[in-house]
Amino acid sequence: MSFLDMDEFLIDLAEKVEVVYSPVVDPKIYPADVDVAFIEGAIANTDNLELAHKIRKNTKIVVSFGDCAVTANVTGMRNPLGGPNIVLDRAYRDARLLRPQIPHDDDIVPDLVERVCPVHNVIKVDLFIPGCPPSAKRIRKVLEALLAGKPPEMIGQEMLKFG
């Protein structure tokens, strides 16, 4: 969402990059030979895990994007409670619900992983952008550096602060 807060810079960006896979575009299959991928969010379920590996295999520069991807953050707040059944039970097997059950349709609903973890725990990450969310300004600076073929300078509060 913060990405869209770059506002009119998106218009400039549209001329310079091709967005090939994202929630805001329609292709359903992650393509080969992608230059840069921003991965947002922690690894919380088996779908996330599978996609992370697919992205790594087909991408030159993988960016861990936002505090959840970098540290697991709020998503990881379930970890100290134990495995996923504790949170699932509370949400789906409460006595006040009609048809209480843990959603389980095997082909469709992915299982939660035992422990939520940051992206770099499961694949190699080339660059970290913290922030909850990273500000549009921070994202733009990273993109401008990458477009110029340089590694972005992740220095100082403006580029590195969590939260």
Binding site: M1, S2, F3, L4, D7, E8, L10, I11, A14, V17, E18, V19, V20, S22, P23, V24, V25, D26, Y30, V34, D35, F38, I39, E40, G41, A42, A44, D47, N48, I55, T59, K60, I61, F65, C68, N73, V74, T75, M77, L81, I86, V87, R90, A91, L97, L98, P100, Q101, P103, I108, V109, P110, L112, V116, C132, P133, L146, L147, A148, G149
Partner: protein, 482 residues
């Protein structure tokens, strides 16, 4: 034996979802289902935390409508304190919510949905998106981007940042509005009003050519639920009472204190989705299907209460019967009218003599052991319900997320669209359905502008194929290197 075709992932929505289309032996659609595939566990891991932390934590449920969670959570805290917040604090909270309605609705319309009807349902899927819109109609795209930006700026000017501002708290808000920011907003408003009126004109002109969509995108009888003002049952987005109307415009529930939401709303669980299915208890499940959000808010209110939006509402209602517009495709139309209403209301608030008052917060302690806070999120009515101990630590938290309220209707919508658009699929081998026929099924979900994500995974990945330019604008390389 029935076969299943899965759309994975559903795109141009907020969050992670799949759709299954089930085909019978003759290649006809027998059913379709909408699956939400993310789950966080907020209700559980918030237990034991101080209720004052809840606005900050629950905001992370979502990056598009964090303000709804911040406001609903702060209001729940007001209820636990048992206090009345200063009038200016309430007005500023309202202003922030109106900013959010503007930005979120503009995002839904311009960035996510309009490529379908402006570029074509079966246009090139690689270009059927906001970047394709920028190429095809740069002026409209720029106006839409700026309108969304204005909504985000209202949030930033009040709360210090665009997403997840730590501003609304139990007892009020942390910072008043500055004179400088007040002036900036007043100066920007006329231009944004012009943009939304232009867009409304454009959309209304297109509607006659979209008859098939209006008739088949979730066009069915249902109940509608939303907040209305306590005085006169007008359009409301922040406070007020719950109202439920039926498909013929009869009022089934009126002036219900939102704290009593449990009396009319139950929740069911289905094995195929992490999203629960709320229903209207007196009619049972799943007959008690109701819709929330822009379409519902315009169907339940007597009027909006501002002149330009009320004129639009009259035209809107003329397209329905008994004052009820029942096609979910009209969510798009309702969303544009609500942006206009939000801009008019922001203007009224800015002209309010109290708006610059610096008395914006009261303090309290735990006076009640249960609190309920409600807010109209851009996509529908949101409920936070906390039980706390004497020290204010959460014992139980229940959240009914706006999008969830539409779950039964979203499932009905994908089935209706699939049965209308997908016919006679060859069943020798693995069934293949043309992309151009699957996109309308996804677009049925986009009508509701669902917000499915949470902080964990949120909007996902932004991979890019990069062309490099030098300072003079010459292409130096087609690829990025380390």
């Amino acid at each position: 034996m029935s076969q299943r075709v899965v759309i994975d992932p559903v795109t141009r929505i907020e969050g992670h979802a799949k759709i299954s289309v089930f085909l019978d032996d003759d290649g006809q659609v027998s059913d379709a289902k909408f699956h939400v595939v993310e789950f966080r566990g907020f209700e559980k891991f918030c237990e034991g935390r101080p209720f004052g932390e809840m606005p900050g934590i629950t905001a992370r449920i979502c990056g598009i409508c964090p303000i709804s969670h911040i406001l609903a959570s702060a209001k729940t805290g007001d209820d636990i304190f048992g206090v009345q917040i200063p009038p200016t604090a309430e007005k500023l909270r309202r202003m922030m919510n109106l900013g959010q309605i503007t930005q979120s609705h503009a995002l839904s319309f311009f960035h996510l949905s309009s490529p379908d009807f402006l570029l074509g349902w079966d246009s090139d899927p690689a270009k059927r998106n906001v970047f394709g819109l920028i190429q095809a109609n740069p002026d409209l795209a720029r106006a839409g981007i700026r309108l969304r930006q204005f909504g985000q700026e209202v949030i930033e000017l009040l709360g210090g940042r665009k997403i997840h501002p730590a501003w609304a708290v139990p007892g009020g808000v942390r910072e008043p509005l500055s004179r400088e920011n007040h002036k900036y907003m007043l100066d920007r408003l006329p231009k944004e009003r012009e943009t939304i009126l232009m867009t409304l004109g454009l959309f209304k002109n297109m509607l006659d050519g979209l008859k098939e969509e209006v008739e088949n995108f979730g066009s069915f009888r249902s109940l509608y639920l939303g907040l209305v003002t306590r005085d006169g049952a007008q359009w409301e987005h922040h406070d007020g009472d719950l109202r439920v109307v039926d498909a013929d415009g009869n009022v089934l529930v009126d002036a219900l204190d939102p704290r009593r939401f449990n009396e009319i709303i139950g929740e069911a669980v289905e094995p195929h989705s992490y999203l629960k299915s709320p229903y209207y208890k007196p009619m049972g499940y799943p007959q008690g299907m109701y819709r929330v959000g822009p379409l519902a808010r315009l169907n339940v209110c007597t009027s909006i209460g501002t002149p330009l939006a009320d004129a639009e509402l009259a035209e809107f209602r003329a397209r329905g019967s008994n004052g009820i517009v029942q096609s979910s495709f009209m969510y798009h139309y309702a969303r544009l009218i609500e942006i206009l209403a939000a801009l008019e209301r922001i203007n009224i608030l800015l002209l309010d003599p109290e708006i610059l008052s610096t008395r914006v917060r009261v303090h309290g302690s735990v006076n009640k052991l249960r609190g309920v806070g409600v807010s109209e999120a851009p996509r529908g009515t949101l409920f936070h319900d906390y039980e706390v101990d004497e020290n204010g630590l959460i014992k139980k938290a229940n959240l009914i997320i706006a999008t969830g309220n539409n779950n039964i209707a979203m499932n009905r919508t994908v089935k209706q669209i699939a049965q209308h658009w997908i016919k006679d699929v060859p069943m020798n081998g693995k069934p293949q359905i043309k992309e151009g026929f699957l996109n309308p099924v996804e677009a049925g979900i986009r009508c509701y502008d669902p917000c499915l994500s949470c902080s964990t995974h949120a909007v996902g990945q932004m991979p890019m194929h990069v062309t490099m330019y030098d300072a003079a604008g010459n292409v130096v390389d087609e690829k990025v290197r380390n």
